[in-house]
């Protein structure tokens, strides 16, 4: 049952089909796992590209990954304040997720660095509701602060 309190406090995901936010404010990236061959996909798919089976389950991906490559973006659309670091993050499930890399100096970002999921403010809806989304930050960044 959703109480009035929950509605008031659970942050709203910027993309509910791809990123699920829990009442405690934590969040997980969503995808699919093929029950037949075990392949994982982001985002949620209707059939498996490996075996073409349609018996897929929705999964919440792990929250740690490794940086495959990145760029410091200095020109973007009006929706994004520049500069920001954009990277491809490899998760242990065998999926590669594009994400911004936050909570670090862009000069310190390196290929191969270990990262963890961060739930952060991510713009607002058309009616002005603040939204949260996912970024990745250096592993352990939270404990170092």
């Amino acid at each position: 049952m959703v109480t009035t309190t929950d509605q008031a406090t659970t942050p709203v995901s910027f993309r509910p089909g791809e990123f699920e936010v829990d009442p405690d404010g934590s969040g997980r990236i969503l995808g699919s796992r093929c029950r037949a061959c075990g392949a994982h996909f982001f985002p949620v798919r209707k059939a498996c590209a490996g075996c073409l089976g349609t018996d897929l389950e929705r999964v919440r991906f792990s929250t740690s990954g490794t940086l495959y490559t990145f760029s410091v973006v200095r020109q973007s659309t009006p929706a994004f304040e520049v500069p920001y670091v954009l990277g491809y993050v490899d998760l242990s499930e065998g999926v590669r997720i594009m994400s911004q890399i936050s909570q670090c100096d862009p000069e310190e970002v390196t290929i191969g660095m270990e990262l963890e999921l961060a739930v952060e403010p991510f713009g607002e809806s058309e009616d002005g509701t603040p939204l949260v989304g996912y970024r990745f930050r250096p592993a352990g960044a939270e404990s170092r602060r």
């Binding site: 910027f14 993309r15 791809e18 392949a39 996909f41 982001f42 985002p43 798919r45 498996c48 590209a49 490996g50 495959y68 490559t69 990145f70 760029s71 410091v72 973006v73 200095r74 020109q75 973007s76 659309t77 994004f80 920001y84 954009l86 990277g87 491809y88 490899d90 065998g94 999926v95 590669r96 594009m98 994400s99 911004q100 290929i111 989304g133 996912y134 970024r135």
Partner: protein, 380 residues
């Protein structure tokens, strides 16, 4: 099954055309292609028009401008491969025996629709986290530099080469040569790519008239160029993370084209490849099997890809120098190759070129390597 031949080509000057639109530009290119072919426009039986952001029935607006009504016409959208896809569709209609004379047009008035960095469709999950096309290629550039030791200066030389070629092309967007120092000093767009590593926002159109064997004999006047292959593929869905420094999609599309044309990469004498960014040319030519993986940056440094080099790449100036009006690009590549193979390329003529290859690759969708890739092989 009949072969397909190009008997006429035309293109507008590429650049900024504030007082014109996509239909107007497309009509100019089509009229030139008809005139170049030397045919009565009433002989054209069907048309395909490639564009991305020009709205509904742009192809029909082109036909209306030149008084050609009543033809079957399809507008095709495949991102930056839209024009190349129009050529492929035209060639299929001829191969199928449905038509003998078909026009392929590509057009874009991009300056009125777009400025700055191109992005994937807003519905895409990667667009939602800040993906831009320059950023995607910048990430690939960084990975390539890390894996193969390419220097930033070597990457800049791709842009310098293409701008030099563009300076010899009267229809190019940019007519001024640039230096490595200027590339390195230009504004950062998405590190490590700077402004001069990126293709510009360009307006322009191109057109080609394609015919069957029967009509080529009758109308060709010795100026026909055979379209020996026109292949199109969509990228596979990754079931595990794969290398972003090689292009399996480009490789697969090229292998199918080499097999269809009966020529190998070693027989290609000139290539127009999709250099939307400097790093893109590196990835393309290696994916096409024209240069070994990891070796193109040094080959450019040695001048192997120059006009007059072992294998000239983008003699027109490419997307970096000639410009990149999305829908127009794939057709304009074929225009350049036809002119090169006919020996009509003026100051940028490649001596003795007989086999040319054009490559386009466009679009970004989450989870697939690339959206639409085309390879055309032209033989004189």
């Amino acid at each position: 099954m009949t072969n397909v031949h190009v008997i006429g080509v035309g293109m507008t000057r590429f650049g900024k055309h504030p007082d014109r639109d996509a239909a107007d530009l497309g009509a100019e290119a089509l009229l030139e292609a008809i005139s170049d072919a030397g045919i009565d426009p009433r002989m054209i039986e069907a048309a395909y028009c490639g564009h991305v952001f020009q709205g509904m029935v742009t192809g029909q607006r082109i036909l209306a401008q030149v008084g050609m009504a009543g033809l079957p016409l399809s507008n095709v959208e495949n991102a930056c491969s839209s024009g190349a896809t129009a050529i492929r569709e035209a060639s299929l209609a001829i191969r199928a025996g449905e038509h003998d004379v078909v026009a392929a047009i590509g057009t874009e008035h991009l300056t009125s629709r777009f400025s700055g960095a191109l992005t994937p469709d807003p519905s895409d999950p990667e667009a939602a986290v800040g993906a831009t096309m320059p950023a995607v290629y910048a990430m690939r550039a960084r990975r390539y530099m890390s894996e193969f030791g390419m220097t930033r200066e070597q990457l800049a030389r791709v842009a310098v080469k293409n701008r030099k070629n563009a300076a010899a092309n009267p229809l190019a967007h940019f007519r001024k040569e640039i230096t490595v120092e200027e590339v390195l000093a230009s504004r950062s767009i998405a590190d490590p790519l700077n402004l001069l590593d990126c293709s510009p926002v360009t307006d322009g159109a191109a057109a080609a008239i394609l015919v069957s064997d029967r009509l080529a004999k009758r109308l060709g006047k010795g100026r026909t160029v055979r379209l020996a292959a026109s292949t199109l593929f969509t990228g596979s869905v990754d079931t595990e993370p794969t290398s972003m420094t090689f292009e399996p999609l480009t490789w697969r599309t090229a292998q199918a084209a080499y097999e269809r044309a009966g020529v190998g990469p070693e027989e290609i004498g000139v290539a127009e490849v999709h250099d939307c960014f400097s790093i893109a040319e590196v990835l393309r030519v290696e994916g096409l099997g024209l240069f070994s993986q990891g070796e193109y940056p040094a080959a450019v440094e040695r001048g192997e890809a120059d006009i007059g080099g072992r294998l000239p790449i983008n003699p027109s100036g490419g997307l970096l120098g000639k410009g990149h009006p999305l829908g127009g690009t794939g057709v304009a590549q074929v225009v350049e190759l036809v002119r090169q193979l006919r020996g009509e390329a003026g100051d940028r003529q490649i001596a003795g070129a007989r086999v040319g290859l054009a490559h386009c690759r466009g679009g970004k969708a989450v989870g697939i390597e690339g959206a639409a890739c085309t390879v055309q092989i032209l033989v004189r």
